[in-house]
Amino acid sequence: MSSHNKARKIVYMGLLISLAMALSYFERFIPLPYNVPGMKLGLANIITVTCVVYFKKSEVFLIVISRILLTALIIGSMMSFFYSLAGGVLSSLGMVFVYHFFKKYVSTIGISVLGGVLHNVGQLLVLSVITGRTTIALYYAPILMVAGILTGIFVGITSMYFIKHVKVIFRFNS
């Protein structure tokens, strides 16, 4: 890869990180019908799904972890950092795995639904560690997983359009 291409790639990674941060900030202002700890729209997952398609595996994790760290520093707290980190790492692991091994059989909808549900699973693991009670995490698990499926479908459709339209920009000769 030429140094010109490398610089281009770093710039786009930075742009995607800031986009994801802006999305995870603004989704807080959209009210949700139920109040369950950890339930959210997960709009930042649009960016993660796009990264899974256009970037290398290691770069996806770099983008996801930088986004979570920066969001926690600016608008989050220590607690929300651990929650997002567990959810983010688990969901990107799942999405990268499914995309690279079953690319032919899955669309972005399947990938983002899996990411959304795994994000909630990661958060529930942290919840059960912090509260020391698995029963609370298990009580919230079904409703959070249903929410993960619904928001995952929405995020998947949005990423499908996003990926289609940024195809022109993300042509790396790597």
């Binding site: 899955v106 639904v113 919840l127 509260t131 009670r133 609370i136 698990a141």
Partner: protein, 120 residues
């Protein structure tokens, strides 16, 4: 939508159903206990039928627990998201109120004659 998407959906739905049935597996319980935990440590246990109005000031923050007429709720807290205040009242076994930023959890636990039979 491709075939693999349906496989992912099916796996997740199986997961949801199995967790849901696991949660509902225990029978109805006779006595409902409200267990208050801070940072994983039990600090208080009340009967759900009691009248309780207690404020918890800890190093993590402040929560105001209110129990009356067999329903428990957090009526005030200094956390930023206010999810614990907006959660619907807990009235049944296994329902919970959680304040993540303040590490404050209220859980309803059923204690009855039949719970020991199940765990044996």
């Amino acid at each position: 939508m491709k075939k693999g998407d349906l496989v992912i959906f099916a796996l997740i739905i199986i997961g949801i159903i199995s967790v849901y049935t696991y949660n509902g597996r225990q029978g109805e319980d006779d006595v409902l206990i409200v267990e208050v935990r801070i940072d994983g440590e039990v600090v208080d246990r009340f009967n759900l039928e009691d009248e309780v109005d207690k404020e918890y000031h800890t190093e993590y923050g402040f929560n105001h627990l209110h129990i009356h007429d067999g329903s428990a709720s957090i009526i005030a807290a200094d956390c930023r998201d206010q999810i614990c205040v907006n959660t619907k009242d807990a009235t049944k076994a296994r329902e919970a109120l959680v304040c993540v930023p303040n590490r404050f959890t209220v859980e309803i636990i059923g204690e009855g004659g039949d719970i020991d039979v199940i765990s044996q």
